[in-house]
Symmetry: C2
Subunit: 242 residues, 2 copies
DNA sequence: CGCCGAGTTGATCAGGCTCAACAAATGTGG
DNA sequence: CCACATTTGTTGAGCCTGATCAACTCGGCG
């Protein structure tokens, strides 16, 4: 499988030879779907960059509830706690066959010593993730399931979507339970909502994968007040307060 | 007001003279309670460290809903998007009179160039915030309001609590609405819960401030199954699924 | 062909949000 | 120092979203 790294965030702004040097020191590893890259609580010994495929970062609470913290896309950094010799805070699970690059934390630190730009790149990545989390926090407290689901799907489309015949395909299996864990809901609820969209031909399923036939229609869910409903009952959007 | 910075995370691990150098280049600014340090969307021109007091980072959605992303404590870094010449993602509002240090982004970057350790410190800080957000995300999707509230209060106690006569005091005003914005709930709900605890003498209010009389009792909320309820109905905790 | 995990769907129910009116606390000006 | 204005908190009633429980179906796979 070829690496389909668009741009590796970690290498941004480095002189080509420097970037090559850093790349040269990476350990490359390929794993197959569902394999675990690292587990929560384990000491973080290296910084990772996904080269191809997709990885999900999952937190599991002691009582068994799961939260999908993030889907990692090629080029992204993950496992950065290694830089500080901390522990991985989440489990990383491959959702497709994928390839990753690893740098032992010690090595990465000395490299940063010489090329601080790399540190800035890490900071940029973390900053972006923080923004993302802030957004999800907001959604989770103020948005109804339907919107959160639409947003989650749109995000997947934007990040991993591949043009596929009529529609955009998410190129790895995403189950109802996965979506539920992603938006903080439950399988039955997600199933119902998705089913509705399926019958409206906005989405479809093709061999375990999610296909979004009409991306705009899904996006529209976020804006419409309650048009698909014939009965004129009031909107239930959480209200503002000033 | 004296700076009550325990340890400035940004300076961790630096030689004393280097740390002094960096400190020397900071701009110091004091603001009074409720003053705005920066606003969301504004270009981030400097990296901030809180020297004393407390600051809240608040996101406001277009429809007026608010989310308190974080309470910043003395010594913490905030406004780090400046390093990448981004925009501030949140509003920063002083909740007490406070003092902050600022470094123009350009200056901070060149300093990092010379002392990459500073970048690692920033990374550490971001990493910690990311952990915090992950935790809140989990709570928000799986925990009932009562637990989230208890956790939020315990966190405030741990971060800002001051011993005060009988109990621990949060040394700045925290309204019901603030707590609601912090845990993703609403004022009436928070009020009810807090009222219950107040009558059980676990917490109290003293001139706009929150006083936790019995911290352990609040912590116990997180573990008890439903003991205050005489009727033996089953627990309603969100269940696991494997 | 029958098993198994994943998805569907119905019924039920409650946590907590909404609305709304009232009470308390804080602040202001006289 | 008191009366009023304003903000903040309290409390009740009703109702809706979405969780829970549970039974059934479907699609692959051995």
């Amino acid at each position: 499988m070829p690496d389909d790294v668009g741009t590796i965030g970690l290498l941004a702004g480095l002189a080509p030879d420097i970037a090559a040097d850093l790349l040269g020191q990476a350990q490359r590893r390929t794993v197959c779907a569902d394999e675990v890259l690292f587990t929560a609580g384990e000491p973080a010994r290296s910084v990772h960059v996904l080269a191809s495929g997709a990885v999900k970062l999952v937190q599991t609470t002691p009582d068994g509830a799961k939260v999908i913290v993030k889907y990692v896309r090629p080029g992204e950094i993950f496992g950065s706690p290694a830089l500080l010799d901390k522990f991985y805070p989440t489990n990383a699970i491959a959702v497709t066959e994928c390839a990753e690059l690893q740098w032992p934390s010690e090595l990465m630190r000395t490299f940063i010593e010489r090329h601080p730009r790399v540190a800035l790149n890490v900071i940029g990545d973390l900053e972006e993730r923080l923004r993302e989390m802030e957004g999800r926090l907001r959604d989770l407290s103020k948005e109804p399931v339907e919107h959160r689901l639409a947003r989650a799907i749109l995000k997947l489309v934007g990040t991993f979507g591949r043009q596929a015949g009529d529609g955009v395909e998410i190129p790895f299996p995403v189950g109802r339970q996965d979506l539920a864990d992603l938006i903080g809901s439950t399988l039955p609820t997600v199933s119902r909502t998705l089913r509705a969209w399926e019958t409206q031909r906005q989405i479809r399923r093709h061999r375990r994968r999610l296909v979004i036939a009409d991306v705009e229609a899904v996006a529209r869910v976020l804006y419409e007040e309650t048009p698909p409903e014939p009965k004129p009952r009031r909107s239930h959007r959480r209200a503002a307060r000033r």
